[in-house]
């Protein structure tokens, strides 16, 4: 995808009605076709529906064991039972609607259609996974090394990985963000954050 096209996509994503602001990006530029092999959201929907049905049924079973009804009316399991049944039933309804009207896929029916790829931008999946992994690392580090150390270590890494900026920029932003958040929230507002074994 060219830089120009990607900018047009970005603008179209941000502002649905909008011609893009910069003269470089054409308002009438068609969305770039999905890359071959890109997974479309519509083809993943049935997987999610199955997950919902499993979750819904499991909730019903759990709720039944808790006891849904007692002499005094609803018992502890009542709300989870109703909610689980609703989740499973609605997922079933989505499956039926999709099966009955495959033509809707091309239309704009929010129940069934979304022909867009799950990850439209090149490298999007890598950035998303990197951020999630980075956040897991951040939470672990906060637990064992304290907030300041964790943030000073992880923020430059995340900035570098996700925004593809230079190491100097990433380290600068990471340290500045850490310092700013620490000063404003811990010092000025008195919110306490976990400290590491070395006292900060």
């Amino acid at each position: 995808m060219t830089a120009e096209a990607s900018r047009a996509t970005a603008a179209a994503t941000r502002a649905p009605f909008a011609p893009a602001p910069s003269p470089a990006s054409r308002p009438d530029a068609p969305l770039p076709p999905a890359r071959s092999g890109a997974i479309r959201i519509a083809s993943l929907e049935p997987v999610l529906d199955v997950v919902w049905i499993v979750v819904g049924v499991a909730l019903c079973v759990q709720a039944w064991r808790l006891g849904a009804w007692s002499a005094n009316g609803p018992d502890s399991g009542f709300v989870p039972l109703v909610a689980g049944a609703l989740i499973a039933a609605c997922a079933g309804l989505l499956v039926v609607r999709r099966a009955m009207a495959p033509a809707r896929r091309a239309s704009n029916d929010p129940d069934t259609a979304d022909a867009e790829p799950f990850w439209a931008e090149r490298g999007a999946w890598a950035r998303v996974c990197a951020l999630v992994a980075g956040l897991v690392a951040l939470v672990l580090l906060v637990r064992f090394a304290g907030f300041i150390t964790a943030s000073a270590l992880m923020m430059p890494v995340l900035t570098r990985l996700i925004e593809k900026r230079s190491w100097w920029f990433a380290i600068g932003i990471g340290l500045a963000a850490t310092a700013a958040v620490h000063v404003v929230f811990t010092r000025l507002l008195g919110m306490s954050m976990p400290r590491g074994p070395w006292g900060f």
Partner: protein, 506 residues
Amino acid sequence: MEALQGLLGGLSVIMTPANLYYCFIGSLVGTLIGVLPGIGPLAALSLLMPVTFTLSPVASIAMLAAMFYGAMYGGSTTSILVNIPGEAASVVTCLDGHQMARRGRAGAALGMAAIGSFIAGTLSLVALTFFSPLLAGVALRFGPPEYCALMLLGLVCTVLMIEGSAIKGVMMIALGFVFASIGLDSVNGTERLTFGSTDLAGGIELVAVVIGLFGVSEVLINIEQLARNEIVATRIRNILPTVEDWRMSWKPILRGSGLGFLLGVVPGGGPVTASFMSYALERRLASDPGRFGHGAIEGVAGPESANNSAVASGMIPLLTLGLPGNAVTALLMGALVIQGVQPGPSMMTEHADVFWGVIASMYVGNVMLLVLNLPLVGLWVQLLRVPYAILFPVILLLAVVGTYSTNKNFFDLWVMLAFGVVGYVLRKFRYEMSPLVLALVLAPLLEQSLRQSLVMSPDGFGIFVDRPLTVGLLALSALLVGAVAIGRLTRRQRPAPLAHPQLKET
């Protein structure tokens, strides 16, 4: 008279340097997040909610509310100048606002948006001031069955107001009920859905859930793309609208105020819906609809008024009934409860200072925002130059600080992360997050009132048909569901969702 006295009392509460300061900070931060496209009012509100726990209840709610209506002011700025809506309720403002800017009338569009917002916000507040005591008086006589029926009606309205799939909306509400029931059953102390985990026994922390759903998942969606919009430098002149502008705009402003007021009170409604409906209404009423989309000032004045009006009237169900109607008021309710103030009909008497203080703060905040927005508009535009590479580390750090500091519990951080990922995936599949948050807050209230109703009832569910008001509310719910179901079955073609999923509700 009672209302005027209350309001005067509220003004004396809010007119202290500390409270004015927090109201100002809220307005400032609200404008800021309204301007920045990468972060919406819900995300910002959830990220900064923990900060307010150290403040007094009045200062805390005044600041959070100011952030919300401040975002409505700020959102129009970027819509008009660079065609990027800063938040979802300003998406329609792009249509005609940016066209006005392209024709050299950016100043008039910005001025009319700010003045319209101010007029509508104030009108809506006046209605709120006089309407709330009446409603609270009626609500004082409500028992558990009435509350139960009212919440059911609220959830039905929420589903019907969803722009995307109603089925998915029902699922999100059900999911909210599931998450709310995790932990100890408040009636008999049974452990529910904890799977033996001691961390889960205390229930799921609301702050961690909303920071995950709105803060973290929004970052995940935003970092998918590297390309950022370039900002064109615009010089803004003639901020004050002309006589001709006024002639064309005063009716849309008044209509927007009325429409926004109604949609703010209806559960599931709110500023986003209000702005879209106001735009549609103005286009339908215009003598020359062809001008719309080409810089019609009514298309800016109407929606911008409607969204501010809806914010103010959205406080009515929260302050008088103790029931939030949308995700933002659900958050405000969470903040009030943490502060030890139970919102509801008795709040007006038991916590009169908070009740009237918050209402008075909104009058003051609207004035502050008018002053902040009109002369400083150039400054706000400069903010768009802040690259996302700087914004997202700050958002993530705020997410960690906010989540942890609420309970000083590491488990909450994992909850936040899990909800961030779940929210990201579900948003991709066009599930809306607002009904989930609303259900999470309403579920304990609904369950409790249902169980109380049945305990006090001699003949089971009979109690719901014995009381006229309960019957009326339940019949209304059934009627709404029936009418919409028939409407959908007979009309196969459904309108395309207006807002892009990524911009919705954020």
